[in-house]
């Protein structure tokens, strides 16, 4: 006489347990890979945005070109921020204007440099990076992942470094 059919046999339970374990391992590995990939893409995007922002700062005058003459940098009339007179030549008045308005215009400056998703700061320093002429924005502590770029510029007729730090 045939035995009665039973949905939960030992084989069935063992099979489901093994499949669950395999799926769990698969999901954990896949999740880990996806997180690493996303982090890498985020960092890559931050690097690209930092390079573009540094390029805007040292390669352009901004739009309008005399934006530093406006009373308030946050005005909608300013479309882009640039610190240059010519290629790699920093204009001290433009830097001074930014630094003076640091507290009130930081968010708007971030937007206009395409860095609205991040925090950022820049310093104009001597070639040896021992002295800082001007500093704008906020800088990351050691715990934050940041992109650090040094661009070589002319400042008041002498070579200098524009150090840009972008972080989350």
């Amino acid at each position: 006489m045939a035995r009665k059919g039973q949905i939960w046999s030992v084989d069935m339970i063992a099979g489901i347990a093994i499949i669950t374990l395999i799926l769990l391992i698969f999901i954990l590995l896949w999740n880990n890979t996806a997180i690493r990939w996303n982090n890498s893409n985020d960092y890559r995007k931050m690097q690209t945005d930092a390079v573009f922002a540094s390029e805007s700062l040292i390669g352009t005058q901004g739009e309008p070109k005399s934006w530093e003459s406006f009373g308030n940098i946050s005005t909608a009339e300013i479309d882009a921020i640039g610190l240059a007179n010519g290629r790699n030549e920093l204009n001290e008045w433009k830097i001074k204007k930014l630094v003076d308005d640091n507290a009130s215009s930081y968010s708007k400056v971030k937007q206009r440099l395409g860095l609205q998703r991040y925090e950022f700061g820049f310093k104009v320093m001597d070639l040896e990076k021992e002295g800082t002429y001007y500093s704008f924005g906020h800088f990351a502590g050691a715990l934050n992942a940041s992109v650090n770029l040094d661009r070589i510029v002319m400042f008041n007729g002498n070579p200098a470094i524009l150090h840009l730090e972008v972080w989350k």
Binding site: D11, G15, T33, W37, Q47, I152, N158, P159
Partner: protein, 133 residues
């Protein structure tokens, strides 16, 4: 005939291959090089521009390359750079390499520009790469 079971030998082999593939992929260092390459290119162009605007190419042509070297040394620890000043006849007037840099690594960025000094034409070439040692 053997009883059916969810995990067969074929299935185990296939799953093992899948796990090994995922394990290898998850262990990779996802560090794309493209933005670093763009930055290196910009830094190379910056160096040439500042060398030219600060008059340090002219000084190097006259035999004093220390001022030009000072700018090269400011390009950051991980960056290597070599700058050559070549006369229009092909004679190399100056060849400066950043201290501590040896051979070119995998990624090399090159930028060049013409330069006129004392009615003579020169060609200034900057080559840069990341020091991976």
């Amino acid at each position: 005939m053997s009883r059916a079971f969810i995990i067969t030998f074929d299935g185990l082999v296939a799953l093992m291959i899948l796990f090994i593939a995922i394990y290898i992929a998850s262990g990779q260092n996802f560090q794309p090089v493209a933005p670093k390459g763009v930055y290196l290119k910009q830094l190379t162009l910056d160096t040439l521009t500042v060398l030219e605007k600060s008059g340090r190419i002219g000084m190097a042509i006259e035999g004093n390359s220390s001022a030009a070297r000072q700018i090269m040394e400011a390009t950051g620890e991980s960056v290597c750079m070599q700058i050559s000043i070549i006369q229009s006849t092909g004679t190399v007037i100056a060849n400066m390499k950043k201290e501590g840099c040896d051979a070119f690594e995998k990624e090399l960025q090159v930028a060049a520009r013409p330069f006129i000094y004392g009615a003579e034409s020169y060609y200034v070439k900057a080559e840069s790469w990341y020091d991976e040692n």
